[in-house]
């Protein structure tokens, strides 16, 4: 509502109103538009936070050429869901440093959120989260991928994730010997 009012007024007022708007519009590589809570976007994505602070948010849809519509839809969905869930201190602190901060388990809704994604959508989401600097979403998606790997043999992992075995038979045997301890109950 504020936006409509702002658009009709002089440039000065328009800028103020834009700063007051509580959503931002994002445009995917294939031209689709998505609205996302400004507060959540700024909190969850370092890239969007920088764009919002720097004023480079386009009212008619900020171009995100690297992100397809399906992935962007998931990003926006995640942000909006996050805005609606109670932001716990744990979540915010875990998003500070991807490398060293201990990972906090995904919350129930985050689990459900990634569970419904296909493999492809999940991998797209990892790339989108990486591009947008969304550490928490990266955490949650990487966690999901690792869950898909748990307890699987190297052969099964290669099959599920379509990875080529570039070891020779001898190399494989050698590493297996080194890792004998990790196979004692197989």
């Amino acid at each position: 509502m504020e936006v409509d009012k702002g658009k009709g007024e002089a440039e000065e007022t328009r800028k103020v109103a834009e700063a007051d708007r509580d959503t931002v519009t994002l445009k995917s590589s294939d031209g689709k538009l998505f609205e996302v809570s400004k507060e959540a976007a700024a909190r969850l994505s370092t890239v969007l936070a920088g764009m919002i602070a720097g004023g480079s948010i386009d009212d008619n849809g900020t171009d995100l050429k690297q992100i397809g519509s399906e992935a962007l839809e998931n990003v926006v969905d995640y942000c909006n869901k996050h805005a609606n869930s109670i932001p716990s201190a744990a979540l915010i602190s875990s998003s500070i440093s991807f490398n060293t901060a201990p990972f906090k388990e995904p919350e129930e809704w985050e689990r459900k959120f990634v569970d419904r994604l296909s493999h492809d959508a999940l991998f797209d989401l990892v790339e989108a989260a990486n591009f947008l600097g969304m550490e928490r979403l990266l955490d949650v998606t990487c966690h999901k991928i690792s869950e898909m790997m748990k307890g699987k043999s190297p052969d099964q992992i290669r099959e599920v994730f379509n990875i080529k075995n570039d070891y020779t038979k001898e190399e494989l045997e050698e590493i297996r010997q080194e890792l004998a301890w990790a196979f004692y109950d197989d």
């Binding site: 991807f98 490398n99 060293t100 201990p102 990972f103 906090k104 388990e105 296909s118 493999h119 492809d120 999940l122 991998f123 990892v126 790339e127 990486n130 990266l138 955490d139 990487c142 966690h143 991928i145 690792s146 869950e147 790997m149 748990k150 307890g151 699987k152 043999s153 190297p154 992992i157 290669r158 099959e159 599920v160 994730f161 379509n162 990875i163 080529k164 075995n165 570039d166 070891y167 494989l172 590493i175 297996r176 890792l179 301890w181 990790a182 196979f183 004692y184 109950d185």
Partner: protein
Amino acid sequence: MPGTTRFADLSDEHVAAVLARLPLRDAARARLVCKRWRALATGHVFLLRACASATASRRAAAGFFFNDPFRFRAAYFPFPLGFSDAADEDAPAAAAADLSFLLPNTSPSAASPPGGGGGIGNANVHVTSSCNGLLLVCIPPLPRRTEHYYVCNPLTREVAPIPALDLELLHGFNLAFDPATSPHYKVVAFGAWYDIHVFSSETRSWGRKPIRPWRRRLLGLRSLRAVFWNGSMVWTLGHALIRLVLGSERLTRIPMPPRIKKKRGWICAYIGESGGHLQMIGYTKEEKLTACFEILEMQSDLSKWSVLYQVDLGRVKELYPEIEWPTWDTRQLEHKVIDHLAISPVCVVRGSEEAGRQGLLIFSIPGKIMSYDMEDQRVSLIQEVMSSPGGDRGPYTLEHPWHYFYAYSPSLFTV
């Protein structure tokens, strides 16, 4: 859909992030998938990450080793189910604790004597220190001459011997390993005159000059066992703690809470490190008889002690009245004068959260190792153990003090 995803497109950082989330054994096995994964899932930084995420969601330890004084052996006990997720895929609790790989000529079954009172028995192995997934163990050769010390990782079964000094017999070996600051560890031990010798795994040698503490600094040393915390070795003196900051040669006192300083008869009954913090339990003899005490925790800047948990073991007195020992002259009388309470706090495990919620206290009474849940005050039996040399439960049984116990949490760090 299987076969259609593009793992190859993910950056190294994200593949590593995914692999670091796996349970420790799965993370190591991922090295078999392809060369790229092997490169990513090796190296200290990766191991650090893998261990950080493995411990983030649960308590700071998975179980503990107990040096059984009556059979020279270290038994391992995982924390009871429900206390730790360690029982899931991540904690090969039993296998991790099998130290028989240290004794090349024994099969795993031979290492556990029959009727061993539960737990994994590790005959002829004595744990003397446990730090971030590495153990410092002592094995006496037969015929017994000098003891041999090793640092090992029970999960990966990697072993490195600690060389003996040429001229001096060392004792009181303790391990210092902080993977967040260095992949290398140090071993600290006392010489005959309580000079302090430091071994570094980086140079694989003992320091050339021992640290010679001003003799009275170590006066009143209660246990050879030290606790590695915050870059320093901490020993208990009767009424005080003293620490050696590794890398410097300084021995300094850790300030005690002001109200304890004035108490006569107060002793430090336990110190330990859990979740990166130093915990301490202490009481006077009278205070101990009440079975109620506080677990204090030191701020990492050494500014002050704060109360982490309030413990009330009154219930244990009700369940096991025999732990209240009367004075000798009143033991036959109807009104006994209780002189001693045979309870020893042996291990504090901090909860995973900032405030340390869901913490656990392991304590021992003669013949039993038990746990106390900070959250619901529930008291549970973990294990029955022998309390006298013959195994009889006579009235004069032995207690198991805190320095028989070593909290352990699996890691992938290399020795």
